[in-house]
């Protein structure tokens, strides 16, 4: 009995019940496609996080006011961050691993331009060092300079979303917009960052610190201080130096009772990536269950097929079909079901992964394609094995008498 012959019989058996075979294949198809697409979605979302880490700049550290969880309890009074704190951090003698320091104050204001009104979620007052530390680059125009900061000039660099929302198609560079009642001249437009968070990182206006303080926030405390370490490897040392300097300036002795917090963007996003991994595993589990259900579908259909064709099995045995041939025929049928179903599932999964799903661009994991397909075929073999074995073990006379 050649392999070809066995496959021909198997095809014949499947073709005899086209609708049933198609529905069983659909079960496997959905299982395999689900595994591929869902894992691709999970992977796509972690990929997006990884990308935004790179966009943020891995060297960046953020110093913000207020203790950590439980930290402020023991602190007698929380001293706000000031421009002097930032200046102290910029001293290369006490903090040799720090490249640059940009004090930041943040507010939200409404921008007006020729009757167009748009609420900018982030109006940042800072120093030019901010652009490098936060990995923000201008595509049109230029950054504002140290002179602009010293002169407290009313200039601004705006994000790409702000640019389109306020100015539409017009080139914003050189134009004047009113921000919270104060006229600002746009000198540059930032490159689109894109992002996955709740806040659009491109809806931003960056202006010199004294200008923003003068117009909106006042000359008191800072929101946060953005610090850029010399290199990605130096972030830990930089973090230690910041802690030491600020503890000295704020007069804190106990390192567990700080009134400020130093966090690196990268570490925050790593946490988010871990969450994503859990998410991916969950998605994978759901997909695996649907694949298993598809496999049970195969078993079910093969059991029905065996029962229905008991007589045929009897005839084949009576004319001398050995056990192995009957076993092979039914195994071939179930494997073909899962093979075709799995193949179509891979195709469907690959096509499905081209679409953006819930805002996430799926990124296919090649192993998931190979794995899902292999598991589908293995399921066919495994779940088909039981009915096939039952068919092959039938006594010919019992099979022939079956009605």
């Amino acid at each position: 009995m050649s392999l070809f012959q066995t496959l021909r019989f198997a095809f014949g058996g499947l073709a005899a019940n086209k609708v049933r075979s198609a529905l069983t294949m659909l079960g496997v198809l959905i299982g395999v496609a689900a595994v591929i697409v869902l894992l691709a979605v999970g992977n796509g979302s972690s990929q997006a996080v990884k990308d935004s880490i790179e966009k943020l700049g891995t060297n960046a550290l953020t110093v913000s006011s207020g203790g950590g969880f439980g930290g402020s309890r023991s602190a007698t009074a929380t001293k706000p961050l000031t421009v002097d704190d930032a200046r102290a951090l910029a001293d290369p003698a006490s903090a040799p691993h720090i490249e640059s320091v940009a004090p930041e104050t943040t507010t939200s204001q409404t921008a007006l331009y020729q009757g167009t009104s748009h609420t900018v979620s982030q109006v940042v007052g800072t120093y030019p060092a901010y652009f490098k530390a936060s990995n923000s680059k201008v595509t049109k125009g230029d950054y504002f300079s140290d002179d602009d900061v010293l002169g407290a000039r009313k200039v601004a660099v705006i994000g790409s979303t702000t640019a389109t929302d306020v100015f539409g198609t017009a080139d914003p560079v050189g134009r004047k917009m009113t921000l919270g009642g104060t006229p600002f001249t746009v000198v540059g437009v930032l490159a689109t960052k894109g992002g996955t968070g709740f806040q659009d990182p491109d809806d931003v206006v960056v202006a010199p610190l004294p200008t923003v303080q003068n117009a909106f926030t006042g000359f008191g405390s800072l929101g946060q201080i953005l610090v850029e370490a010399k290199s990605a490897d130096a972030t830990t040392q930089a973090q230690d130096e910041i802690t030491t300097v600020l503890m000295g300036r704020h007069g804190i002795k106990d390192p567990t009772a700080l009134d400020f917090r130093v966090s690196s963007q990268a570490s925050l996003l790593t946490t988010q990536a871990d969450t994503n991994k859990t998410f991916t595993v969950l998605l994978g589990a759901v997909a695996a269950i649907s694949l298993l259900v598809g496999g049970i579908g195969i078993t079910n259909i093969m059991l029905v097929t065996v029962t229905e064709r008991t007589r045929e099995i009897g005839i084949r045995k009576a004319i001398g079909a050995p056990r192995g041939v009957i076993l092979g025929q039914f195994l071939a049928e179930s494997t073909l079901l899962s093979l075709i179903g799995g193949g179509l599932g891979v195709a469907a999964g690959l096509i499905g992964s081209h679409f953006t799903i819930v805002g996430i661009k799926p990124v296919i994991i090649p192993e998931s394609v190979v794995g899902a397909f292999a598991i589908a075929v293995a399921i066919g073999l495994f779940f088909g094995g039981y009915p096939a074995n039952r068919a092959a073990s039938l006594r010919p006379i019992e099979a022939l008498r079956h009605e």
Binding site: G12, A318, I319, G320, R395
Partner: protein, 283 residues
């Protein structure tokens, strides 16, 4: 393993000639003290029991010997055990006790694998209800036993075509069972049974589902096969069919009550020797 290899060699011979042993040729069928019981205890049904020992009252079992080239008709009413006997002879069922030697092989000592080989090479089975594989054209149907025997496709095709031509269906090779009449289906079944050149042809009421014309067609094929030297065992309850046999065995309640020889083992079957009288008596 010895009987296995032996059976392969025999199967390779075309239209195997009667085996010439040192003495007489071995009988094709040799059944000794065969008993078949279904169920247990009080509910037991003795399908085959043979004569009862007058002293002890125990069943002695059925004894039957069929020589090479014979044409035996087994007759009996329903429940007489003739189908049970046939299933055991065809290696489809196993006896409760007793010995069954098929072409010199002790069938009871064979495992599942060897049994399927025996069914394939030694026995050609024809059923009352045709039992063709559904959705399969006649040619593929007849090729099937050869495929199971591992015969090469070209050789398979040649032999299947020869077998179908022999039963007069050379022009129906591509027809599926549902496109054939009952008589034609049964002739396909006969072609399938004889394509492996088995030691004997077993037919379980082959004409039971056929009209008189188809019955004649099928019996003519069986007659010709027997005339060519093939051993035939046939079950029937019609006297018209039994008339074709060289020997008639009657079963009643699992016992052989009558064993009549109508024609010598060597020589043509009665229908071919005495065609005119059969036609006269048959109509």
């Amino acid at each position: 393993m010895t009987p296995l290899r032996w059976s392969r060699r025999t199967a390779a011979l075309p239209e195997s000639a009667p085996e010439k042993g040192p003495w007489a040729p071995a009988p094709v069928i040799e059944v000794r003290s065969l008993i078949k019981t279904y169920g247990h205890g009080d509910a037991a049904v003795h399908a085959l029991s043979g004569p009862v020992d007058p002293v002890s009252g125990a069943a002695l079992g059925v004894e039957l010997v069929v020589q090479q080239g014979d044409f035996v008709a087994v007759m009996g009413s329903s429940g007489s055990g003739k189908s049970t006997l046939m299933n055991i002879l065809g290696c489809l069922d196993v006896p409760t006790s007793g010995r069954y030697l098929l072409d010199g092989i002790h069938v009871g000592g064979l495992d599942e694998r060897q049994l399927s080989l025996v069914r394939n090479r030694k026995i050609g089975f024809v059923f009352q209800s045709f039992n063709l594989v559904p959705r399969t054209p006649a040619l593929a149907q007849v090729e099937l036993p050869l495929a199971y025997a591992g015969v090469k496709p070209a050789e398979r095709r040649r032999r299947a075509e020869a077998a179908l031509t022999l039963v007069g269906l050379a022009d129906r090779m591509d027809h599926r069972p549902n496109e054939l009449s009952g008589g034609q289906q049964q002739r396909v079944a006969v072609a399938r049974a004889l394509v492996t050149a088995p030691a004997m042809l077993l037919a379980d009421e082959p004409t039971g589902n056929l009209d008189s014309h188809s019955t004649e067609e099928v019996l003519a094929v069986v007659d010709r096969l027997n005339a060519a030297g093939r051993t035939v065992v046939l079950i029937t309850h019609e006297d018209e069919v039994a008339r074709h046999a060289k020997r008639v065995v009657r079963l009643v309640d699992g016992r052989i009550v009558d064993d009549v020889r109508q024609a010598p083992v060597d020589g043509p079957p009665p229908a071919m020797r005495d065609d005119a009288s059969l036609v006269g008596g048959g109509r």
